[in-house]
Amino acid sequence: MRVAVVGVGMTRVGRLVGKSIRDLAAEAGLKAVEEVGWEPPEAIVVGNMLSSLSEQENLGALLADYLGYRGVPAFKVEAACGSGGAAIAVGYSLVRAGLRRVLVIGVEKLTEAPTPVTTRRLAWASDADYELVHGPSFAGLNALLMRHYMSKYGVSREEMGSWAVLMHENGYRNPYAHIRKRVDLQTVINSPVIADPIRLFDACPISDGAAAVYLAAEGEARRLSDTPVWVEAVANATDAVDILSRKYLDRLEAAIRSAREAYKLAGIKPKDVDVAEVHDAYSITGVLGVEAMGFAEIGRAAKLVHEGRFAPGDKPTINPSGGLKSRGHPVGATGVYQVAEVVMQLRGDFPGVRVDAEVGAAQNVGGVGSNVTTTILRR
């Protein structure tokens, strides 16, 4: 049973004070349904981590009704910052299990609370009993990996900083991006320290946003769309939530496992990927993500970016959206943004940096690499 993406939608990412969580979800979700001529979905899967900030659980039923699909099966899927990817994995399985049309909406409203509250809640993605209790922010946890990685592989501050420069160069052209400005390397490496060695420009912003993908079974897909994009594989994998019991602090095992499984299911190799959206919550996450996808050896990705690799024109082009760094990171929506962006690249209608692509990949990472979904798409 082949499954296709036949519609996508997204809101601009940003600090969207005037929009509630349901407004955001409706804007993205209805755009995706509009793309299939308003054909109603048979089920709705919502990817979200922190609707607790809006005091609103039960998002599945809330959104089904609010969008105009009262009654259809609907629920929320949560896997920390990997909630969007996990929601796509669930939506994909629902179609494989027999449904014809499933709408997946990723949505997050993070700017509803003061920053120390939001950052504490983001740290709910870590181990509450053995990590959070000591006080690390989510940036702090990633900083622990970044220091270790830079030290172990002799990666310089400049090499790590090149990640942000590339992301902003791409995101500058993305009308949906949260932070649309170019930055130079000096700005990155001299920006304020958030959690040493992570500086402001190593970190994604705190964003609101929603994205949607409309999935359909093969026959339905051809009926609903002239440009279906085929889902070749969706592979979810997990790791310890705590970083402590992992064998290695210089790689994300779940991302490696998820990518391998996805490549196997799709019958392709890393070199076959034309365009990829990887999960760069921090520079270090992006670098480890690129290595997990098999686009660089462990310890090499930052150096390659610094040398100019992965920019538009290269194969693969990485994060033409600007990535989490520039497009932004509305946590539970991010994994859905990534898939929607890759779909637009394959259809040829992404409104920013465009990549001529046949095969695309999206990698969504929850926690510090504890829940990862890799999706492979083909035109």
């Binding site: 209790v133 006080g135 922010s137 702090g140 990996l145 970083i243 402590l244 019991s245 064998k247």
Partner: protein
Amino acid sequence: MTSVQRLWRRSREYLSLKAFRCRRCGEVIYPPKRACPYCGSRDLVEITLPRKGRIITYTVINVPIEGFSKPTIIAVAELGGAKVMAQVVEGAEHLVEDAEVEVVLGKVGRTVEGLEYYMPAFRVVSGKDLKEGDTD
């Protein structure tokens, strides 16, 4: 925010640095799990980690989360084959990778009720500009 209930529930294991050793593969398992993540065995024996070890990595957090103050200094140290996370509450000026640390009790944050609470924390005893034995 951390509840007093949560701290109370794990107080004994926090204070004693409880971990497991896998009887099949010999690996140290920390934080505690119900099975060995390395070989899958459920044949585990409880152990107590040593209170001295070496820093693997650390961070100085300038944007603390709710309940903690600036800066929050967090380190991961290797203690008897386990990687343990804790705040650095003494000797932070000597903090460097591979610095020697010992576990002390430190005031680290506030609970939801607003009470300050104590947790195992690190004191740097040998590191940057410090030779082993310089302190105490």
